[in-house]
């Protein structure tokens, strides 16, 4: 009996021993699954970042071509008695065209001339105009002037287009490549930092498009959002955490806020369209409506984080304030809120970052219009940075792809700054 027991014990142990190897292998495999899952996340993040930065960084430079511009009275159409207004309306694109023809005299066909003109950006005539208006003495002279290259020519000069690919597959033609090579050899091309990306609004021409209008639009929209969401959110949090009686209504409000946080943002866009634009007849495409809608979206975030921050304030502070005769409201305003403020601000900044990246609801309320001008107030038509990204991403021109990535880099830069600020505040909060 005893012997048999020992026997079976031995057998069990042996079986366990035999299976151990397999079990340990399974253990190691399982750990590797975990590691590779974490690694997968990292790889996705890296691919995303490398892709955006790789595509976007060329947009921060621009190519210029040195042209001997002939400021000929006849080509420009300026009479001797021209007023400054006439000078401003002169035909500068004709001057550029004739100067280009002088530089490449062997171009004679219509098609050839057309491709020659496409080396220089359409916007170059405006910079010439500004130069002449400022200094009318230029008329009648010939100057070497750096003119902005057309986006396709620029893209070739940035080595984004291969010369070896078949001509039908690229926008830039062989003949244009030949000219550009000549210009490059003569030292007539130059790459500069693209300042106009930050100082101009949207444009149909990729090489002239900038994000200034979108940045202002985002600023005004977020301003409205903050002015609405922050006070209302904090007041709601104070009420729910400090004053609300435990009853059905309070429960309803709490459940409501939690569910609102999970409603898809596009539904808020529908609300904005039906209520603010269709019913209250507020202006379309305006930062005002965009800001209100975004405020409603961020409100749950701000309320939930503010409540957590207020709830974490130590009871001793309440007792001390109450003990010296402060009312409930005085206690909260004078003592609890200042202590909870870093936490509240952290939540609000995270909410604002969320609002900054939000796109879908703004499409609903018409912030997708093509807007070149910088908005000067909250009721002007405007677009915001994410919507600008969406619009450019939809444009077929190659030049817009790099603009899109560059705008994404700017947007992500702002988000990183905001989140870093939030982390910094939270760290300080934790120290106390």
């Amino acid at each position: 009996m005893n012997n048999m027991n020992k026997e079976s014990n031995y057998k069990t142990t042996a079986a366990i021993q035999a299976s151990l190897k397999k079990r340990h292998a399974a253990e190691r495999r399982f750990q590797w699954y975990g590691r590779s899952a974490v690694l997968t996340g990292f790889i996705f993040l890296c691919i995303l970042m490398v892709d955006i930065v790789g595509k976007g960084s060329p947009a921060f430079t621009q190519h210029f071509i040195k042209v001997d511009v002939i400021f000929d009275r006849e080509t420009l159409g300026i009479h001797a008695s021209a007023t400054p207004a006439d000078i401003a309306q002169a035909d500068y694109s004709a001057a550029i065209k004739s100067s280009l023809r002088t530089m490449f005299p062997d171009v004679s066909t219509r098609v050839g001339k057309k491709s020659l003109y496409r080396l220089i950006s359409v916007g170059a005539q405006y910079s010439l105009r500004d130069m002449v208006v400022e200094n009318p003495a230029l008329i009648g002279t010939t100057r070497e002037i750096w003119l902005l290259a057309h986006s396709e020519a620029g893209s070739y000069l940035k080595n984004q287009v291969s010369k070896d690919s078949p001509e039908s597959e690229r926008k830039i033609k062989d003949i244009q490549i030949k000219w550009l090579e000549t210009l490059r050899e003569e030292g007539r091309t130059e790459s500069r930092f693209n300042r106009s990306f930050f100082t101009s609004g949207d444009s149909r021409e990729p090489e002239m498009a900038g994000i200034k209008a979108a940045l202002y639009g985002s600023f005004y929209t977020l301003l409205v959002t903050f002015l609405l969401a922050f006070p209302i959110g904090v007041m709601a949090a104070v009420y729910l955490e400090e004053f609300a009686p435990r009853n059905r209504l309070t429960d309803l409000i709490e459940i409501n806020i939690n569910n609102l946080a999970a409603v898809p943002s596009i539904v808020f866009g529908l609300l904005g369209l039906a209520v603010f634009i269709n019913f209250f007849e507020l202006p379309r495409s305006a930062p005002l409506v965009g800001g209100i809608v975004l405020a409603l979206i961020t409100l749950p975030t701000i309320i939930i984080t503010s409540r957590a921050a207020i709830g974490a304030v130590s009871p001793s502070i309440y007792q001390a304030a109450m003990g010296v005769g402060a009312s409930k409201l005085q206690t909260v305003v004078h003592h609890v809120l200042p202590v909870a403020m870093p936490g509240i601000l952290t939540g609000s900044i995270i909410g604002m970052a969320q609002a900054l990246g939000e796109t879908a609801p703004l499409l609903m309320i018409g912030m997708v219009a093509f807007i070149m001008d910088v908005p000067s107030g909250v009721t002007d038509p405007a677009t915001v940075l994410p919507v600008q990204i969406f619009l450019w991403a939809d444009s077929p021109e190659r030049g817009f792809t790099e603009k899109t990535s560059a705008a994404i880099m700017v947007l992500m830069g702002f988000l990183i700054i905001m989140n870093a600020l939030a982390v910094f505040l939270r760290k300080r909060f934790e120290l106390k």
Binding site: R23, H24, L45, Y239, V263, P264, I266, V267, M364, P386
Partner: protein, 463 residues
Amino acid sequence: MQTTTIFLALATLCVISFFMGRNRSRVVAMRLGNGLTALHSLPSHYGYMAAIWSALPALFLLALWSGFESTILYKLVIAQLPQSIQAMPANELGLYYNQLQGFAQGGFGSTEQDQIQVAASEHYRVLTSWSSQLKTAMVLVVAVVGGLLAVRRVTPLLRARNHVEKILEWILFGSSLVAVLTTLGIILSILFEAIRFFKVIPLQDFLFGLQWSPQMAIRTDQVAASGSFGFLPLLVGTLLISTVALLIAVPVGLMSAIYLSEYASRRFRTVTKPVLEILAGVPTVVYGFFAALTVAPFIRELGGSVGLSVASESALAAGLVMGIMIIPFVMSLSDDIITAVPDSLREASLGLGATMSETIRKVVMPAALPGIVGGILLAASRAIGETMIVVMAAGLSAKLTINPLEAVTTITVQIVSLLVGDQEFDNPKTLAAFALGLVLFVVTLLLNVVALYVVRKYREQYE
């Protein structure tokens, strides 16, 4: 501009009332000779009271006036018009009124004006300027009177602190109601427009129709098909993309959470988790761009190299990128749930000789399962409601298929494409967006309610 002026004037009056109220309380107190101790509240409370009474009624009046101004103006101007014009149908009359409004503001619509319209627009202009002047005057008078009345009421026995705090408490309560009002606004506005839609398109055609092609004439002179609004292809497309997303996000997110909470060292965890959470902070429009310009062409070429024909706007590309987006979401939720499983369960299992992975698979996971299911439901609701990725990377034409290599469209894509551009609130094409919005709202709400219920139930189990 004018509104700004009114607000500035109101703010000034408020400040003046505050100082008057505060001074008045001091004067009243000094008269009694007992110093400030004679007062029930601090002098500033009397000031606040005066300021509140100066601002609140005036703001109320301003809101009321702005709310009814346009309706009353409309009635007044129309009443002046000749009978023949008043007899026009309501929408033509509205158009006529808009034209004359535009003319009065000197903007567009100034062509094709007749004498009557010009006269009426002049009338309108006079009325508008009258109204705005009267509004300013009335609001300011109410503010001054309100402030003065409050200042006059100041006596040492007046319980100003209680008075002020009662009002402020109501304001706080009002702020917390904003969230409820938002939900109510969403439900009412969407429901209202959706019901108008279902009056034209029967509910069963919408719910069970297999054809979605909303190309309908918005203006009567447009040539277009009559449009069909069967919502099933959209539902299938949405579910297809969301399924692809969950197939990526759930294994990666869940395994990451398990590894980080059970195996990883503290240091590794504190570095890794925030880095992975960056994925959740990336704006969705960025993911959309990534999906449309990088992932979709890549998948297309990959499919082409093994002989598969992949649509350039395949559901796979959109789903894959959406999956990347919700990885951190699944990870954080599962992490919370897994760490909430009591250590005693793990210790018991390890004490019996189980390896760590056996413990996780056979003890921790079954215990955490309800919570994780809840988390996955939340992730699914997020995937269904996600808009920008699919708008940029998924197709527009509704195809009833479950092949992820083909282009499908989703509910959110259709909402955007129906509402961007021409809108006409009495056309089924525009209203269809609201019907879709209603479906989206109901589905995500149900998923959330169920998920939150499951998660809460699970938490109670171990608390």
